[in-house]
Subunit: 381 residues, 2 copies
């Protein structure tokens, strides 16, 4: 028997090697290592023998427009070595003769809506929760009907470790993306599964489902699915609200029918970043009491003489209906910090208990990962 296995194996290895060789010939490249992390230094490399200028642009720079010059060796390999920035997940690109390109030698790439960037990981304490825990939950791409939007749509659903065989019911966090994003954003750039796995494994957060819908009302799914979009008139005031209504009328009922979840306000949380923070505020104002945990991130409100009375009435309705947590977060250099401050001040003025979590930084995934790490432990307790 062992001889048979060995023979089969040798044939397999021969084929595999042949194919790998074919691939290597096809790509026509010598292996280039980039990014190359050694101690406290990182070297980036790109082979571009005919380029006149190559620069490196990374999200660790205060101003991403001030790219770093790279230097060419005799073989046409451009490189630059920089001190490692603080531990975090960063994005970067090369600017080759003025054209922004991803790093072909780095498998780690992220898509933000229509834009791809290479990803650099500097591991450390702050990123510990962004990586795999021992006990991993699953992630499903689920299609559901949205009668409100007249579309069959896709959402991503995280189920915590042990969900499949558990006899208990779980609470649910509805987690919304921002403008330019889609249902893929929180689980890729946001590292939601890893953050939740870690928090739950360390017993810092309750086991919960996380439902990540698509907040673009004309899309059935992320554009990568190649499905034509339904035209929605962005100037029609009903357009964003149609999506907000669909959360309560279509998505929550689907989840509560098909999953082992607790169908009660005290077991429903809603959170979102930027546009999704707007959806969060809008949804909880339109349906007071439906979600008892409310977390708008990097978003707020802009109060004018015209809309002040309306906002006040809306928030008073939320107060009257009751809630367990109102948790606002924003970076101090976020371009929406003033709106977040206005939301904070409005809730204070109306005597509504809440938290205003202000940290450094701006409108970034670094901050949204930090916020998820901070508010998820507060839910359903």
């Amino acid at each position: 028997m062992m001889k048979r296995l060995t023979l089969i194996t040798i044939c397999l290895l021969a084929f595999t090697g042949l194919f790998a060789q074919e691939l290597a010939n096809f790509a026509g490249r010598q292996p280039v290592i980039s990014p190359d992390i050694k101690g406290n230094e990182i070297t980036f490399r790109v082979s571009a023998p005919y380029a006149d200028e190559v620069r490196l642009s990374g999200s660790w720079q205060a101003d991403m427009r001030s790219a770093i010059e790279m230097k060419k060796d005799e073989a046409g390999l451009w490189s630059v070595t920089i001190p490692a920035p603080a531990p975090e997940l960063y994005t970067y690109s090369f600017i080759v003769d003025g054209l922004s390109v991803t790093d072909a030698n780095n498998v780690l790439m992220q898509r933000d809506g229509t834009r791809y960037l290479s990803v650099l990981l500097i591991p450390g304490e702050v990123t510990a929760n962004y990586f795999e825990a021992k006990n991993r939950g699953n992630l499903s791409q689920v299609w559901y009907d949205s009668p409100t939007l007249g579309l069959n749509r896709r959402m991503f659903i995280y189920t915590p470790y042990g969900y499949e065989t558990s006899k208990t019911k779980y609470p649910v966090l509805y987690l919304l993306h921002g403008a330019g994003g889609d249902e893929d954003a929180w689980s890729t750039m946001g590292r939601t599964c890893q953050i939740m796995d870690n928090l739950i494994e360390k017993k810092l957060a309750k086991p919960m489902l996380v439902v990540m819908p698509n907040g673009n009302p004309g899309q059935q799914a992320a554009r990568t699915q190649l499905i034509p979009e339904k035209p929605f008139d962005r100037n029609n005031p009903g357009t964003p609200n149609a999506y907000v209504h669909s959360i309560v009328k279509d998505i929550v009922p689907y989840i509560e029918k098909n999953y082992k979840v607790i169908a009660k306000p005290a077991s429903r949380a809603i959170a979102g970043l930027s546009m999704g923070g707007g959806h969060t505020i809008s949804c909880t104002n339109l349906y007071p009491g439906f979600f008892q945990y409310i977390c708008p991130l990097s978003m707020g409100i802009r109060v004018t003489d015209e809309n002040k009375a309306t906002y006040d009435a809306d928030f008073r309705a939320v107060k009257k209906a009751g809630y367990k947590l109102y948790w606002i977060a924003c970076g101090d250099s976020d371009f929406l910090i003033e709106q977040a401050r206005t939301l904070d001040a409005t809730l204070t003025r109306l005597g509504m208990k809440h938290t205003f979590f202000v940290n450094s930084g701006g409108h970034t995934w670094t901050n949204w990962r930090i916020y998820l790490n901070n508010f998820a432990p507060l839910l359903f307790k």
Copy 2:
């Protein structure tokens, strides 16, 4: 109430617009449309004002190394218009001053192992099944323990439309990727979900689960998950077989325990492309009768004086144990066509009923999508 909604909406739109503007400023680009499909012509565009030479390389070309020259206008926008190739999903890249880059204006990109390429879709009859059906199945990323490999690993599982609420049990296709790929390959490049949705909706294929594991024994999941790999000695003859054993010992039991499936040989199919075709042959030879539907794609065997008797004994055991379908497929210009012919001849010589499906083309996803479209309707009937 309507007034409130309108006010909230206006604020939301203002924020969204602001953010979109910020993004546009940040990217610093005018919108460029590429690829631009008009009638029977396609124009590709890339803005690279400082490049000296830009070429287009696409998988529709017989020889991908003979790239097409693009021309620069006064604004530094390079473009080329070509006649549309036959309907299919193609990949392409731009070669900018010798550097191969993806098309930054095209959201459609595929990852093949570590390599990213832009995707061009020319719709037509042949691609009809590659797009969304009305009734869509779900796709889950599922973690399971593999005691055989000593790793917690990820696989992708397609469940057909209606699975969640159905009271019936389903058969299962175990679908294996090739060298360089991972558990993501069949559902992205292979468009497995769309093909199965279409075949099942048209009642051409039986509703079934499709399980897509990771065939690289040292990987817990695709490299995009950022998980360090377990070193496996590729020269150790046990290495590929350890994975093959894990299919039968770890994966099938997990599926049959946790899903509504029929736990019988006549309800188990195994298919794979290239290295995965090798895994298919190896697995069915090691466990005769365990899978009753056997489909090696773009793969075969290399028979020598040394291994002939072993192969014969293995295949005779498969024959004796019984099977419902042995379906071999290969393109006539595939670099493994001779090995596929040898497998065909061996089964013929041993009196084993089988199909040898030979079509044009080579070792490509075009062919693997065609094969899935052709063999899935033959399963479990």
